[in-house]
Symmetry: D2
């Protein structure tokens, strides 16, 4: 079996760290390059002590240069901030390197939307059409043909997977959707700031980013596409004192209030029956973030509230694995012609 040489650009964040963990167990994609200005010169195993004595530990961290990546890598994972990836990507593509971008730079179809929500100009807008939005259950074919995959945000992954079957099957009203999302702290990144210190987060719960979290347009874009018309929804985020995991509580109203819970479950189960990473839980069981920890699973439950005719969808993922590095690796598998689950078969660490 062929081996793909991969570069990881941006190692100081949690998504990069998670990718290094996953690549250490991948049989056919080998980490050969890791880039970081701040940590250049160190061995990767020195920077990530957990990786020592495992594949990838001996890679020496270097400063990003497109020509070096082009020389050494078939594929690059960009785990860099929004605004940076759009500069790095064009030269890599030009040199024939495939790119999986973790940032938001190529997720939104319209440059104006990006500029409106991210507050700076997009200078690689010509790639927006080409970029595949990397949810493999939905866009497998486009991803398999893509040079550039925009790896989805963690919240959008949970929200889109949660709503997909309901919208695809026209079960719910689209102008009254509220997503109340809760995330573990790795979602906030790894910058040294006081509000993310242990003592500020621990034994505490709070909302943040209201009412304009940047993942809103990404969710609306994909939901609109599935629904077949423009959807505007309310998306609100909270910080949970835990490391990993996202739970989205999605409030919808049934189009037909007489639809039974059983019928809704049948539709969900049949929608996802060929996608084993999506697990529709048995009636009465509610999902928990720990049951997907470190894995690609998206667990979801359906609750019908007959008192208010609401269908409540609970959707749970691991924000770092399914919501970032694992999904990136699944996309890379498709782009390289490997089986989707290669290197991603591990059980959750419950």
């Amino acid at each position: 079996m062929k081996t793909i040489r991969a570069g990881l650009v941006g190692i100081t964040g949690y998504a990069g760290m998670e990718l290094a963990r996953l690549l250490a167990g991948h049989p056919s994609i080998r980490l050969v390059m890791a880039c970081s200005r701040a940590e250049a010169g160190k061995r990767l195993g020195e920077y990530y002590p957990f990786l020592e004595n495992l594949p990838g530990a001996d890679v020496v961290i270097s400063v990003f240069a497109p020509e070096d990546v082009a020389k050494q890598c078939d594929l690059a994972f960009l785990a860099v901030p929004a605004g940076t990836a759009m500069d790095m990507t064009p030269p890599l593509l030009a040199a024939g390197v495939k790119v999986v971008d973790f940032s938001a730079d190529f997720r939104l179809r319209k440059a104006e939307t990006y500029e409106n929500w991210y507050s700076h100009a997009h200078n690689a807008a010509e790639f927006l059409d080409e970029a595949a939005y990397g949810i493999p259950e939905i866009y497998a074919e486009k991803i398999a043909r893509a040079r550039l995959v925009a790896n989805p945000g963690c919240y959008p992954t949970s929200a889109i997977l949660g709503l997909y079957a309901a919208l695809q099957n026209d079960l719910v009203v689209t102008d009254d959707i509220v997503i109340d999302a809760k995330s573990g702290v790795t979602g906030a990144g790894r910058k040294a700031v006081v509000p993310m210190l242990y003592c500020e987060v621990s034994d505490n719960f709070r909302a943040y980013g209201l009412p304009r979290h940047r993942h809103t347009p990404e969710i609306e874009q994909e939901i609109s596409r599935i629904a077949g018309h423009d959807v505007r929804l309310s998306f609100n985020t909270h910080l949970v004192p835990m490391n990993r995991g996202i739970l989205s509580t999605i409030y919808t109203k049934l189009k037909n209030p007489h639809t039974s819970l059983e019928r809704v479950r049948e539709i969900f189960c049949s929608t996802w029956k060929d996608h084993p990473w999506v697990r529709v839980l048995p009636s009465g069981v509610l999902p928990e973030t720990r049951h997907v920890r470190g894995s690609m699973f998206c667990d979801m439950a359906l609750v019908l509230d007959p008192r208010t005719d609401r269908l409540i969808i609970l959707s749970v993922i691991d924000n770092l694995c399914r919501g970032a590095a694992g999904q990136a690796l699944a996309n890379a598998n498709l782009m390289c012609g490997f089986a989707l689950k290669t290197g991603l078969g591990m059980a959750p660490l419950a």
Copy 2:
């Protein structure tokens, strides 16, 4: 100043423990009796090591007998399960002991509602009208005259305080309210069950009780009273890996979409201006459970989402203090003729 002799019936739960903490610092209500079948015979300081060397530590735990309470106490706090308090209360009242009941037994006006949600008959329904619902900001006068106070549930306290100003001032539509509530783990009580073990809760997030949490009818009863008509709402609960605190994210729709955030804030601030335990946060600041830890404060923030015409109210309390023992003590203060804040002036332990 007179001293009130108080009994605490039920000491093995977290609400009882919190009341013992608060009474240790109260200048005029003295804990003279503590009842528990399981722990009878021990000194209270032996059972609660934190209390040793403080007022109340030397009380010897006894088995509940109404005549003993009547002999020794002016006031009894019942921190016992729903269904038990309704048996204990009538003889105490008959003997002239005032009662603050932590359970749900006297919170609902209608016995049928109770029986519908708590699945057993109510055998002291004749006291339902008499019982004051113990939110001091709303029912101070009735509480001051009451022999029996139904201490509100933790979730209802947060939800009712959060919605009060909006409903009182007719700001929002009442048939489309969603309360997405998140609670710390003390809210689940102190029974030894596997799902509440440290390793099952820690680094985990989940919903529970959907779609029929027992606090729903209590919230709807009070919200309906404030609104002036029957309100049905969607109330959903989640478990946060932290000890204390509740945050309710309350989704409402403005009656008049042109109402500005500034105007809404003015209305909230003016509604609460004489109630310093309710703190309406400055625009742009969101509440955090740690800022009210161990205190009587209810912090709230207002968010307007112009994209969906929603007013989102965030309301935060400490579930054990404001949501149980502290509010009970505030009610006791009113019932005994003490100033509301007596013994409750402590700053949050942030």
Copy 3:
């Protein structure tokens, strides 16, 4: 490659759960049976939601019967309490089933020692000599030939690995060793008891089991064997509010106070050079439990305190993986003729 059929007896504890996780990723040992009286009749995936859609999920839980195990399994993992395994083991061995026992029943060479520390008689003492003590770095050959492996305790694994190089090379005095050990909460098991509830453990630190933790004789037995004479030491345990991990701080005194830290490191590194799961950290780096989470690694650091001539050894493992299920699986690999690391190559989930 051959496939070994494995049974897991005892599924309700954390060690059994961890083994199910690991077996789901093992290429050659297949979980075909899972036993539990309390949960019999359920699918394993129903009891362990995290396992759904993975190998092993469809096994139906049954009640333990040696003849059923003998019929269906080549190997049995006993994740049952001390005192139970000694009854289950003889019939399994007699039927030709290999046994890896997680309990203490076959760890101690002398039945009196067992009876002294575990307070009940040993009724399978004839197997004590035969049982291999399952630390693969030390006893690989005996394990490979064994029908019965006594899987070591979590604390002993960390303490023995930590001290091994120092004692083997006669670096430290043996009558003045103090092991101050700290463990995550999974180490306390999964029984529903109040002191292990989330709210009792969270934001709290305490010692327990002093001064007679049951792992003491097991540590002393192995340390004595390495030292070549009887060693008595002080072993003390603490509970850390975290799920997984053990850190042992081991206080020793150098035999020769002039030995340099560099020399000590050389000796440790050379002792462990062929055992990549033991990682002796670079000078100045201290181990952290998260860096070994979910893996077989034992990270250790050496600190020399010239002010008191002490050599302090810090030794870290994951208590569930290296300290229980992972080590059991490594032992099973050796017993079945597989490479030691088969199915255990995963990177820590940092």
Copy 4:
């Protein structure tokens, strides 16, 4: 009763925050000034949202100037880094302002020791003799007369209180003491650094600072004074994923191995009988950090290990209250002629 006007210099750390909490409940010491260069101009209630609507919230943060402090304050609490307090203190004392210094600047009697461990020159060494070391149980008289109190470090408070009775009564050998200390994360301060982020600390345990923690000389100085001769000991620190609390496990060897545990307890109890903040736990009960949370208590347990003739002393405090702000306030009470416990009678928040 007179009112003392107090200034708090340094508000951005956890000790300053804790002092603000405590002063809000003090009947006779009023916070009138709060200094911070970074936050100058804000109201204190804006910077500390938990303090809003409580005494002190309306103080406007200002930049430190000795003449302003002198004008407005009778007493200053310096919650500033080591090295800064030594510059601030002399002008305050000269202006007649009493000073309680939280830093290490005036804790060590000898300037050389300070310079050796803190790596910079001491430029106010003339005050070292005058400064009282602020453990009220030991130095009440000197503190009551002092203009300048050096508030002890958190670890030293726990270690010195733990060892005091044993050394005072000549129970243990002084050349073989090991202190294995574990602290909550507030002990690390509130600087924004990656290793103190929630995700780096949570579900993790590690040692740090070995083998030269800066609190070592402070502990040795006080222990030597109690013992009556120079003592050198091994002091080692660990970081616990919790907010507050220190537990020190102190390993000593009995001078007379025949001393019974009962006798040791008698000696400890009699030593502390007039000091209700020190609670010697009953035999068989071990201390927990949560039982002292937010309070002045020091809980201690005594364990005798007859197998190794060791007396193990477990000593627990809240690092922010007893180990910093609370002890500072107790010292201020003595300096101002108030009863020791004024404003410090609160029960632990268990």
